[in-house]
Symmetry: C2
Subunit: 376 residues, 2 copies
């Protein structure tokens, strides 16, 4: 019998939740950080290395995958898991956000979006129905509703109009998704930074009914304070017995604040992108390895970190391979960042279980404040 | 007591030798292929992955390392082994060849070479004495004499003149190297494609006396037939009880032909560079993964290969990550190529031990001839 998708809360601490999302491809310990494997690879990492950092689930981008290698091709080749050699669960976004941010010339109406590929200029179409079909072809375990999200700043009327269309699209996504035991469909709350719109969106999604609920339309330029204000109310508007996924977040302190406010799942390109750009994220704060200050430094990035970059190499070496434009720079720095992110999540989970989240968060900020003195 | 550098022949088959080079940092099974770690990294590979392919020894480039990060800095940081996290033996070239091929504006005389860095244009000087000093600072286990080699085609007088200066430089290198137990100094035979000059060079080197002897000045555009002609006599001019190292070679069939002719050690950037350029080297021949023909191919590069690229991924995936310009493409393709090279060396060693090298070589060429039909 196919194992079903499920979620249970094991412990809480304030609004924070320690839980498990279960899928036929394995459990996801929450709060969970999902590394982003945009084009069927977490850039610079072998999938077994991503797994070794502690990741239970990856995110794939429907927009990129539909354009290259293409959804039908991927289905013929046995789906994304087999294609990219990742046996665990995969969540795919709907393509909506990236159509807005990456593609050329687009025509948006109630039906869907026509856009041009950033790869070869070819014309493509996405709608709730085609997005569900493509995510099915890809073989996604957790499918996201097709939605739209205006670039911020946007006036409230525009945000409301967009949110209401996204809710109509959510209903069409649910209808098109159908009944797929073992696969989950998540609705996406919109409404910008307006509490009433967030509430209206949450009610619309609950009326439709989903396996999980995402908080969309944040981390798009509104700043951490505004994001945390929304997270003070948005998660509690969503069902308690389903996972809550904050899309596209974020920096380590964003993640800590979001988890404190009841978020269960997050994803972000930051650890991998920063790594490629020579920025290491550590419990002491950020280290810019390209800085000449590291040229003769025999110390590791973080003496307490157990990742391959920190156990095998000096800052001087990491500086050298970055300056020499060596592939190994991206490999080691990405590995470190993903390792740190997964360790942070494990610590957050442990703190929630122990009922000591406030103490953990205080210590988290204290170490970073000290780190500013020794690292910058 | 410090373990000394040594070499012993365990078996021969025709002119081919199966041996062991012993060093304080570990044994090198010969014939051995040495992956190139130009700038203190084998591009796209973690050192533990290079080790996993079967490599016993790496090559480092003195020219690159003296310019960046710099020999004094590397010495302060504990030497190249610690810097790049490679515990096994390392051979460094002398910098001579790369000064000629990579650097800007140079002034060459009997004393040495003044040249401009390709990294930042700064002026540097290399001579037998400074090369020995730099290779010592780097911490090289097998040090190469500083030599000069004219670009081919060159007239015989120019080749003879250059060879004789290199022999005088070899004597100065030996003098400057001094007595360093556990470290080896290799002389380099020059003389182009002229047997008499190769003989004169070999006699000069033997008079000085080295721990090993390299064959230089080949694989510089003379073609395989001319190279094999030289290898028909050059190795036998060198002492039987010392390892023979053919510099900068080569393609798989070059390696097979060189081993048949008595070569014990080889190095080349080809497997890593080809990998980054999307070319896989297999026992069936070369596979250009960028070719659209592979787009829908669910087969591995080589179904018999046990490397991570072949056991985890389809040609379709490898094509995809190459086209998407993903770092993983370089990582997997390089790993495959280095794995194949080390497997080829292990097979050559086994065939020499078994006295079946001719059969192995016949099979090697037969499979490639068949492969041309199915792969190209």
């Amino acid at each position: 019998m196919t194992k079903l998708f499920g979620y249970r809360v094991a412990a809480t601490d304030g609004r924070a939740r320690r839980g498990v999302v279960s899928t036929p491809r394995g459990d996801i310990q929450t709060p969970a950080f999902m590394p982003v494997g945009t084009a069927a690879t977490v850039k610079g990492m072998l999938p077994e290395s991503v797994k070794a950092t502690g990741a239970d689930i990856l995110l794939g981008n429907t927009y990129h995958l539909m354009l290259r290698p293409g959804a039908e091709r991927m289905a013929r080749l046995g789906g994304l898991h087999k294609f990219m050699n990742w046996a665990g669960p995969i969540l795919t976004d709907s393509g909506g956000f990236q159509v807005m941010s990456l593609s050329g010339l687009r025509k948006l109406n109630e039906d869907g979006v026509t856009f041009k590929s950033h790869v070869d200029g070819s014309e493509h179409y996405l709608s709730p129905e085609t997005s569900m079909e493509i995510q099915k072809l890809i073989g996604s375990d957790i499918v996201m509703c097709f939605d739209e999200c205006p670039a911020l700043p946007a006036d409230e009327a525009r945000v409301a109009e967009s949110m209401r269309m996204s809710m109509r699209w959510a209903a069409r996504s649910k209808e098109a998704f159908g009944n797929r035991p073992g696969h989950a469909l998540f609705g996406i709350q919109q409404g910008g930074v307006t509490e009433a719109l967030r509430g209206e969106s949450a009610e619309a999604l609950k009326d439709i009914g989903f396996d999980g609920y995402a908080i969309g339309g944040l981390a798009v330029g509104e700043g951490q304070a505004a994001m945390f204000s929304v997270l003070d109310y948005a998660p509690t508007m969503l069902p308690e017995d389903k996972p809550r996924y904050l899309m596209g977040v974020g920096k380590p302190d964003d993640i800590v604040g979001a988890v404190q406010r009841g978020v269960d799942m997050l994803d972000c390109v930051l650890p991998s992108r920063s790594g490629r750009n020579g920025q290491a994220l550590t419990r002491m704060g950020a280290v810019n390895i390209k800085n000449a200050r590291h040229r003769d430094d025999p110390r590791p990035l973080d003496p307490e970190c157990t990742c391959p970059a920190c156990t095998g190499y000096s800052r001087a070496y990491l500086h050298h391979v970055f300056k020499a434009n060596e592939i190994l720079s991206s490999m080691l720095m990405t590995w470190h960042n993903l390792h740190y992110y997964q360790e942070l999540m494990a610590e957050l989970r442990g703190a929630i279980e122990a009922g000591s989240l406030d103490d953990f968060v205080a210590g988290f900020h204290e170490r970073r404040a000290k780190g500013d003195l020794v690292l910058v």
